[in-house]
Structure formats: C-alpha cells, structure tokens
Symmetry: C2
C-alpha cells in the first residue's frame, strides 16, 4: 500500500525532506494535499489535523500515514521510513546518530524560517522586515558558519569516510543535507558564494546526491516544485549578504 504524505500544497517546505527520501528509494507514495479528487486536497489534510475524536492528531504537517499508523514531524517520519527505504544505517547506534543529526538539521531549518519571520508567523514578512534584516545578518554571520562548520566536521570525522554523514552508505541525513545546501544557495546566494571552497565535503555530497538517478529524475519532474517566497527558504535580496 502506498505511503500517504500530508504537506501544504505549493511549497517544498518541510515536506521536501520526506519527498527526497521517498523519491530516492522509488517508493510508492501519494502527496495527498496535491492530489485532486476524492481523498485528496488540503481539506483532507486539515480534516485529520482537526479531528475531535482521533487519538493521533498531528500538530502540523508534514505527517505520514502508513496503513493506519500516523507519524508526525520530519525527523520522526524519517526515523520510521529510513530502514524501510534502505536509507538508514543498519546498526542501532548509528540510527540514533542519524536521528541526532536530523534533529540538528530540524533546528537549523527552524532558524532559516525565522530569518524572514523573526517576530511572528501571524504577521506578513513586510510587517517584520526591519527585524528580519537584523536576524538574517546574525544568521549569516554566526549561524550558517556554526551549522555548516559542524556538518563539515561530521563528514570529515566519519570513520567510514567523508562521503556520508553517518555510516558507509547513503542515508536520509545525506538527502536532507543536500536540501539544506539547495535551500541556502537559493535564499542567500551571496552569503553562500564561497561555500564550495569552505565546505568541500558538503559540496561533494551535494553533487553526489544530485547525480543519483532517482533524485535527478525527481528534480527535473513536475513533482519538484520550485523554491518560492511562501516556503521556508525564501530569497529576499535585502536579507542576503552584500555582494
């Protein structure tokens, strides 16, 4: 039976970390909110979230349905899916390591979101632009180097080699890091101009993920939405570093 992925239509957002894993594995899945007709659409998703009787009510998308099991939060979904898709390490200890790395990525993604929404998600970007500039400046100066510097150390210190974040073969963490590099390069092209030289391990990993047949096929398909200014990674030139 196909996995059912629930995420907002129209943006890559947090759902994209799940899509990349499903696509790389060639898994059978339905992107429910993007599907038209019976059982599809955003309303179907909101109905599950708004249930006043079900036990498993997600706080927010993305969530995944596998049979009658409902799993929410990106890291939790990937922890569940990873072994099923052949995208998690075999050893338990490395699975906890993968989960820890994915949770660092989760924190980073939340900080990316807050560069354009530092005051409130209920306000428009235009109404918090001044604060967004201050937060983005600090993000570019302090946080990008802190996170990418950390991920680079993780790659370089992987005892199985610097091709992967954890273990000796591709995992969902590698796919998520690919998406981080994609997103940052879209949102902050000036700040990221020199990243291939600064973070060579991540540049190599990014290139290697991009050339995987299923990923390459996905990226050139209509299923891969373009980045846009409704998602997590947004390009506002006034928030980027000065070129």
């Amino acid at each position: 039976m196909a996995f059912k992925l629930y995420y907002w239509d129209g943006i890559q957002g947090r759902g994209e970390f799940i899509r990349l894993a499903l696509e790389d594995a060639g898994a059978d899945y339905i992107d429910v909110a993007r599907m038209s007709g019976k059982g599809g659409g955003t309303d179907t998703m909101l109905e599950i979230m708004g249930s006043r009787s079900e036990a498993e009510i997600p706080f927010a998308p993305p969530f995944l349905q596998d049979g009658d099991l409902v799993i929410s939060h990106v890291a939790n979904i990937l922890f569940y899916l990873g072994p099923k898709l052949g995208l998690a390490p075999q050893q338990d200890r490395l699975r906890y390591r993968a989960n820890g790395l994915q949770l660092t990525i989760t924190d980073f993604v939340a900080e990316v979101h807050d560069t354009h929404h530092p005051i409130s998600t209920s306000l428009y970007y235009e109404d918090q632009k001044t604060e967004a500039k201050a937060r983005s400046a600090a993000f570019i100066k302090d946080r990008i180097p802190k996170f990418l510097g950390y991920f680079e150390r993780v790659l370089q210190q992987n005892p199985f080699g610097a091709s992967h974040m954890v273990g000796n073969s591709l995992s969902y963490v590698d796919l998520s890091l690919f998406q981080i590099i994609e997103g940052l390069t879209y949102a902050f092209p000036n700040a990221m101009r020199d990243h291939e030289r600064q973070y060579p391990g991540q540049a190599a990993l990014h290139a290697s993920v991009r050339s995987r047949p299923n990923i390459a096929g996905y990226l050139s398909s209509p299923r891969r939405l373009a980045f846009n200014e409704d998602g997590i990674f947004r390009h506002y030139s006034e928030l980027d570093a000065v070129r």
Copy 2:
C-alpha cells in the same frame, strides 16, 4: 554503569527534560558539568563537543553517554532512555506517537527561547528588548493557546484516558509537559493566570506529576536548580501579559 548527562551548569534549560526522566525512574546518573574533580566540569563537556577526531560529536548539549554510546538532542535521548526507564509505551506505534509529541514540545521550547532572543543568540537580551516585546506579545496571543490547546486535545482524545499524553501510563512526554507548565508559569505568570481553568487536563497532569514521590523528592533537592534569567524560561515582567 551510571548514565552520564552533559548539560550546561547553572540552568535547568533543555537538560531538565532529561533530568526529570532520570529522577522519576530513580536512575543512576552523573550530571557531568556540575560535578567537580576529575572527569567533571564544563570543560569535560566542551572537550567532547570540540573533538577533532571522534565520530560522535554533538552539536550542542544536552547529550547522554551510556557506555560508549553518545546520544544528542532531548527527543532522541528520551526516545532511547524511555524504554530503559519504564517511561515509554510498550507498543511501537505509541513510541512513534510519543516521539512526535516530544518533538512538538521541542519546537515549543525553541519558541520560548526566542521570546527573549528573537534576533540573535549572540546579542544580550537588553540589545533586543524591543523585538523581544513584540515577539512575546505574539507568543502569548497566538502560540501559547495554539500549543496548549493542542496538548489539551491530545490529553482529552487519548483513548486510554486523559491522565496521560500517550498510552495508559506515565511516559517521558508527561514529565516534559509538566516542565512546560512549570516554565511557562514562571516566565509568564500573568499570561498563565487562567491556565488551570482553560486547560484542566494539563493542570491535573501537572499536579499528578508533582506529587510523584521521586519527582517531589527531586524538586525539593539541591539538584533541582531554580529557574533563572540565564535559562530558556526567563521572567522579564516587561514581556509578560499586562495583569
């Protein structure tokens, strides 16, 4: 062998979610950064984080060492510890549910932190006080009701009864929710004034956790630090609702 918990000395912070689980279970653990002498202190913690050779380098505290296994991030540590401490549901599907709930708590805690640091963690609170007031106002208006409203629904819709967030017995999620209520009541006493009436399930859970013998013993021990203005939950009266 005792678990080793690594977290910043002097604050409850994110480490407290782990401490509550260890304390409730009466587990043998060492709070490394708070321990003086050989093998203790903050320097020992920073040395592990700063290693240029080890594979398992945490991005940030808290992290847990169990033998030679190192696990980072609150939700990941609790997912690992829960079954060992008798604080996780028996069924796999409920463990994923517990993990999803814990990750919602994680997100909420990050938002609590950003009420006093909306622009940058590298700046002092005083240097972002204006933005902190705006973010806190939005947090009190939109985010507290959204998260606590959700947790209340989860309790009330738990098919095993409203005494627990998941399953039919106490789990680490219940302990973490207790800490959320403790922290919010400390940080935003005016905003939380009416919470017992608004969220009766959480009030009952909070009282029931507080009266557990090991928790009561812990809370009155010197191991439980007081909330303070270096932690996640900070009381700045100018950020609270007007009484």
